[in-house]
Amino acid sequence: MALPPELSAIRDEIRQYAVDYGLDFFEVIYEMVDSEQINALAALGGFPVRYPHWRFGMDYDQLSKGYTWGLQKIYEMVINTDPCYAYLMKSNGFVDQKTVMAHVYGHSDFFKNNYWFSKTDRKMLDSMANYAVKVRRMMDRFGQERVESFIDCCLSLENLIDPQLPFRESKKEPEQEEKSLEDLEREGKLHVERDYMREYINPKEFVESQRKKIADEKEKEKKFPATPQVDVLQFLMEYAPIEGWQYEVLSIIRNESYYFVPQRQTKIMNEGWASYWHSTIMTQKALKDSEIIDFANQHAGTMAMAPGQVNPYKVGIELFRDIEDRWNKGKFGKEYDDCDNIIQKEKWDKKLGKGREKIFEVRSVCNDVTFIDQYLTPEFVDRFKLYTYEYNRRTHQYEIVDRDFKRVKEKMLIGLTNMGQPFVEIINGNFENKSELLLTHKHQGVDLDQRWANETLRCLEQIWQRPVNIETEVEGQKKLFTCQKGQFNEKST
């Protein structure tokens, strides 16, 4: 439903403010929806037409129950497309709608300009609808149960993709050149012009080490895959013994998964940026005196902090403000870092005025990991009372450990790296020469959840159709989990 006149007037007004501030966004199309619709849309990830799957129903179940009982409410939804679609909840108050619109222009600007979004499919609305048609046709042909079960399997592996892949230049495999006999003979030897120099230029040991090196390389070439494969879905599409429609399903799941990656990579930044702008636009331009209370109430709700959690809205907006302030005052660089007078640092102000410029730059190039890595400061951790917590096995509860800057930052980065998921990759597609699959978990201090690892292997086995294995560590001990015909096996290595 299109906007009623009073809201479209407001939209035009807010849009103009956003443009004046220098935001550069995809045009935003607003739709008015009721609570049921917004819950449905949210369950579908913002896309009205998607392939049939129970998990959307599950999310809907939770959202609508939460809404019915007054536990949660979605104010707004916006999707990364060009033009950008945003859904406004009908029951929102007038001030809420204003705030939400300002917020949405922030998101849209972020979608358009943040580097990590640059490779996403901006016509995803159409693509998703096409996927829906494809999947429905498959279901008509092969049966809903069968197709859905295969989707279930694929979803288990949905997160095993390579977030860096879209940014790598597509490298072509170097063509295998046929080597002439002559070349083979010369292998490992340097070119010799004069015969008497032969022994000196190519001493025996040197030749041997060279030969070994070449042999190793050849050995490596025989490996399959040649280098560890992070994009498990891609690997399965290429090498798993699957039917045509299954290939299609894998490809659909993979595309959708890649589409959503940047949103997960920039949760803090994206929400922070949008909040920064709704706050700026509202408080500096759009708010009328009578609306202050309503705005403050809603804004405070969004920024609320729950114990044991980091509110991405709060951290994001404050970090952007902090950066702006630091670059306005010149609180960065060697001179500032080397200063160890706290009072002097506190009062530091070089009247640089580069804050706005800086945050626009940050929103273009960073993702959450680099955002936190580069711009989190000890002062910030202190001011916003960040702490680390850990599970205490003795008391069976989570307890605050400390408020040390380094530890907080490290812990935060660990939580954000690879979007908080374990690093898993395929290292051998012909394990033990029995065409079994071997994955490896790059252990970085935290064990895998064993039960779920096993269940995931089971799904993988159903696609690979041969036993699958994963190397990992459990409590410091190297282990190999195997799933063979649905049966789990564990052995120490």
Binding site: W54, Q62, T388
Partner: protein, 370 residues
């Protein structure tokens, strides 16, 4: 906008209920949400199906939080949303639990768990029920039904037409002619109805445990039949050597002593049916629970006659549940088998040995879908 979400939702519900895709059953978690309802905290069941993924063990990670507290302080996470990857799991808090479940849903669960068939109602829909619904608007009516919106709309129309409306000073005064009232229509609906007549032996041999069993079973049968029929009626008869009709409360609480003449109950049952429940309009379900110890063979013969001549032809099914008792001989069960054999289509017999036998017994009774 048309959403496919309803279909996805229905599918999810069926998986949770275990109707389809049994292989997902092991991934179902029975979470709950907590909400305030008045002063009480209620729990809303929130089943979820977790898609298996490689993830970190729950306890290992820890994380970063915001707020006050000293090292060593517990991080309260009671009201947290169900965790996603990377977040720590839920800590249990102190909650007053009140499981919210509707009787209708309960019946559904029962039906699914026991695979009870839907009951096919018998007889024509002779019973009428009248429902009043507010559907229209009329020009006259009582003040209590005045529709303010419509009234003011009429007044506005009139003022616009007569040119007395001033947009600068939009005061609208309805006059008598503008008054509009909500009006209703009576909907007459034809319905099937059913009556359950519970008969219980309260002779000296029926102890508390036996009555507990009967009560539990009666409750579930009641719940199921209520989910199948609108406007169900229940009647309760207790008997020892004589029978009398009682209310629900007495039915479950009485303990009397004395001999047992089952025929007395059957005769009373017949009388109730004859006076209140004409066969053509009613689906009739007599249930009789006893420990199977009748006073004499003579009386038993009399019972069989009553069943044969009146009760069976008039009932959808006749159910006899025999509760195991230390004192009872259980003879009546055997007598019934002798007279009607196991195959008689309207007689369903069930032995309830103990509390665990209740479920099977309900299935015996209702599994035929009559």
């Amino acid at each position: 906008m048309v959403y496919s979400i309803k279909r996805d939702h229905a599918r999810f519900r069926s998986i949770v209920k275990g109707k389809i895709k049994q292989d997902l059953k092991k991934y179902i978690t029975h979470g709950e949400m907590f909400a305030k309802k008045g002063k009480e905290t209620v729990s809303i069941p929130l089943p979820q199906i977790e898609i298996p993924r490689f993830r970190f063990g729950q306890k290992g990670q820890g994380g970063v939080g915001m707020g006050d507290g000293n090292p060593g302080d517990a991080v309260g996470k009671g009201e947290q949303q169900p965790g996603r990857e990377g977040e720590a799991g839920n800590q249990e808090g102190q909650h007053e639990l009140e499981v919210e479940i509707q009787l209708k849903e309960l019946a559904e669960i029962l039906g699914e768990e026991l695979e009870l068939p839907k009951i096919e109602p018998r007889g024509s829909k002779n019973l009428t029920s009248k429902v009043d619904r507010y559907t229209g608007i009329s020009n006259y009516g009582p003040d209590s039904l005045r529709s303010f919106k419509r009234t003011f709309k009429e007044a506005l129309k009139r003022q616009l037409a007569s040119g007395t409306y001033d947009p600068e000073n939009p005061i609208i005064v309805p006059i008598r002619k503008d008054m509009r009232y909500r009006s209703w229509k009576s909907d007459v609906r034809q319905e099937n109805s059913a009556v359950i007549i519970y008969m219980m032996d309260v002779s000296g041999s029926m102890g508390d445990e036996q009555k507990e069993i009967v009560r539990t079973e009666a409750f579930w049968i009641d719940t199921w039949l209520r989910s199948q029929y609108k406007g169900i009626e229940t009647r309760y008869i207790i008997h020892d050597a004589t029978a009398r009709e009682v209310d629900e409360n007495v039915f479950f609480k009485t303990r009397e002593s004395g001999g047992t003449l089952i025929s007395s109950a059957y005769r009373l049952c017949q009388k109730i049916i004859e006076t209140d429940y004409p066969l053509s309009d009613w689906n009739i379900y007599p249930f009789h629970f006893s420990d199977g110890d009748n006073w004499s063979g003579e009386d038993t013969r009399h019972c069989m006659e009553l069943l044969q001549n009146f009760l069976l032809p008039h009932s959808n099914i006749f159910c006899y549940g025999q509760v195991e008792s230390r004192y009872g001989s259980g003879q009546f069960y055997k007598d019934l088998i002798e007279s009607f054999t196991n195959e008689h289509e309207k007689v369903i017999l069930s032995k309830i040995e103990n509390k665990d036998g209740i479920l099977q017994s309900i299935k015996d009774f209702l599994g035929k879908g009559k």
